[in-house]
Amino acid sequence: MLSKEEIEIIALSLKVAFASVVLSAPIALACALLLARTTFPGKTLFDAIVHLPLVLPPVVIGYFLLVVFGKQGAGGAWLHDWFGVSFAFRWTGAALAAAVMGFPLMVRAMRLSLEAVPPKLEWAARTLGASRLRTFLSVTLPLALPGVAVGVLLAFARSLGEFGATITFVSNIPGETQTLPLAIYSLTQSPSGDAAILRLCAVSVLLSLAALAGSEWINRRARRRALGADEGAR
């Protein structure tokens, strides 16, 4: 039903989306933790910067990435010299663009779930001999896990749909940076692409629905656990 090229496009999109959440999840968790549990000068500014990709035009983000992480960009040159990683016109660049665009969604969900963990539970763990790190790993993170997972899933779904920043940063190269939305866009430019567009749109809808359903399922399970707990206490 799907042609070989179409399957490759879907596989590339999943690869890009997967790489983008793997890249951003630890950083997002650290930012969420900073925002949920600490106060520091400039916290409001930090919060605003984290949320910038949500409100800026994606093209602006893409251009910014191009300037910083492109071949001539300071960040891009440094990463290339030291780690041999390059972003320009590569699928890794698409993943970076998707990661940046999905970042605020991820941080928001994680922050909410971290804030829902009572700090006094962490106190209790500390008085029982657990270090800060162990307290985080054995108490805070397990309790915040549903929210963290939802954040990752939302960012994943967002990455699958990333268009503006990606096309600005790494262009639209079939087999390298042409993800689902970019492929659909290209097909709209050609006169005979209607059937293919419909097929790719259907896949897009299915993948997004699956991600949303997944996050809803996690939320329901977490809520049911909390409710069941309340009933048990009565």
């Binding site: 009572p118 006094k120 539970l121 106190w123 209790a124 763990a125 500390r126 008085t127 029982l128 001999g129 657990a130 270090s131 162990r134 054995s138 108490v139 397990p142 309790l143 909390a226 069941g228 707990a229 309340d230 048990g232 206490a233």
Partner: protein, 384 residues
């Protein structure tokens, strides 16, 4: 031995933004006391800074300056730059809300601290703690399904199993109903007697404190008013504004001497006389601390006849405390002798009219009448 000298100012954003700090809100806490008691109580009304002090002892709240020394080991000293992290202080903490980890089973909660402090000291074995607290049937349950009393038992067990050198308890009964309260209080007494752990107990309940504590630190508005033996503090008349304006009374240390199986009564002896109270299940010779509320004590100038009151004790008026109004308080030294020294003092609350009619003055012999059933079993603190 606990030696505390702590100072903490509150300059939080909350206080900054509120133009003037709200009525009753503390500007800071300053506490200096030391005690070698098995159970030391921090006593004072809510908002007097008690919890802040225990949080500073635990290392959860950072003091501005001061010292915390427990059994010779310095946990905090601002001058020497010592600040042992919370997890290395060896201080167990039982919170008001229990605070069990909701994602873990009861057994996992109990083992949380035990696993992290292996080998430091002998401690009390797992099985002994579990049977002491009667929580065997709960081990497989998940923490959120427990009732309030059950949660608090597990919280006490969890803290004990982390082998603390000091157990902090911050109003552990406040979230429980009356029935559960006396049940948990009995357990805390057993923990004190059987687990050989020093306890710092925070409470605003005079009943709990007079039943449990050996020493009391009296706090008011962020400062320590007095520190000393429980009996001394609660019987000191100058501290009465802080210890029992509404619930004045006297503490008496006594010993169970007789059980009367026929009438279900127990007789307690103290230096100054004997008291008959409803029967309690305790060994003969057991020490008990009884709190006698001033309003339960009646005075008579002659020995009354044909009366239902079981306890009629001879004594002498020590002082009449008159603060105006309809009620006056009379301190009576128990015992028939005229000696100024020795003998327990009781507090009696009578109407001014009665005082004038009886013409009570210091030194006058009186009979003190206390109904046997006035003793609340729950307010009796037994020690071994």
């Amino acid at each position: 031995m606990i030696e505390i000298d702590l100072c903490k100012r509150f300059t939080s954003a909350r206080n900054h933004w509120a133009s003037a700090s709200r009525q009753g809100e503390l500007n800071g806490v300053e506490a200096r006391f030391s005690s070698a008691a098995r159970v030391l109580a921090l006593f004072g009304r809510s908002g007097s800074g008690k919890s802040t002090v225990v949080n500073m002892i635990a290392g959860l709240v950072a003091p501005e300056r001061g010292r915390v020394v427990i059994d010779g080991e310095t946990l905090f000293d601002s001058e020497c730059g010592i600040n042992v992290p919370v997890e290395q202080r060896g201080v167990g903490y039982v919170f008001q809300e229990g605070l069990l980890f909701p994602h873990l089973s009861v057994r996992q909660n109990l083992q949380f601290g035990a696993a992290r402090r292996g080998g430091a000291s002998a401690g009390v074995p797992f099985d002994q703690v579990v049977s002491l607290l009667g929580i065997e049937p709960l081990l497989g349950r998940s923490a959120p399904t427990l009732s309030g009393g059950e949660k608090q038992r597990v919280a006490i067990g969890r803290a004990l199993l982390s082998r603390p050198r000091l157990l902090l308890m911050d109003e552990p009964l406040a979230a429980l109903d009356t029935g559960r309260r006396s049940e948990i209080l009995r357990l805390i007494e057993r923990v004190r007697d059987e687990c050989n752990v020093r306890i710092v107990y925070v409470s605003h309940s005079i009943g709990e404190v007079s039943r449990l504590a050996d020493d009391v630190v009296l706090m008011n508005e962020g400062a320590v008013i007095a520190c000393g033996g429980t009996e001394e503090i609660f019987n000191r008349s100058d501290l009465r504004p802080y210890t029992g304006r509404f619930e004045g009374g006297a503490l008496i240390e006594a010993r169970a001497v007789r059980h009367d199986a026929r009438y279900f009564l127990t007789t307690f002896a103290f230096d100054g006389g004997e008291l008959i109270a409803p029967g309690v299940e305790t060994a003969i010779g057991a020490r008990v601390r009884i709190r006698i509320r001033a309003r339960d004590v009646t005075l008579a100038t002659t020995r009354p006849q044909g009366i239902s009151v079981r306890n009629v004790i001879e004594g002498r008026v020590a002082a009449v405390e008159d603060r105006g109004g309809a009620i006056v308080e009379v301190r009576v030294r128990l015992g028939a002798s005229e000696s100024e020294h020795g003998g327990r003092e009781l507090l009696s609350r009578i109407s001014r009219q009665a005082l004038d009619e009886m013409q009570l003055v210091a030194g006058q012999p009186v009979f003190v009448l206390i109904k046997a059933i006035a003793f609340d079993k729950r307010s009796m603190g037994f020690t071994t």
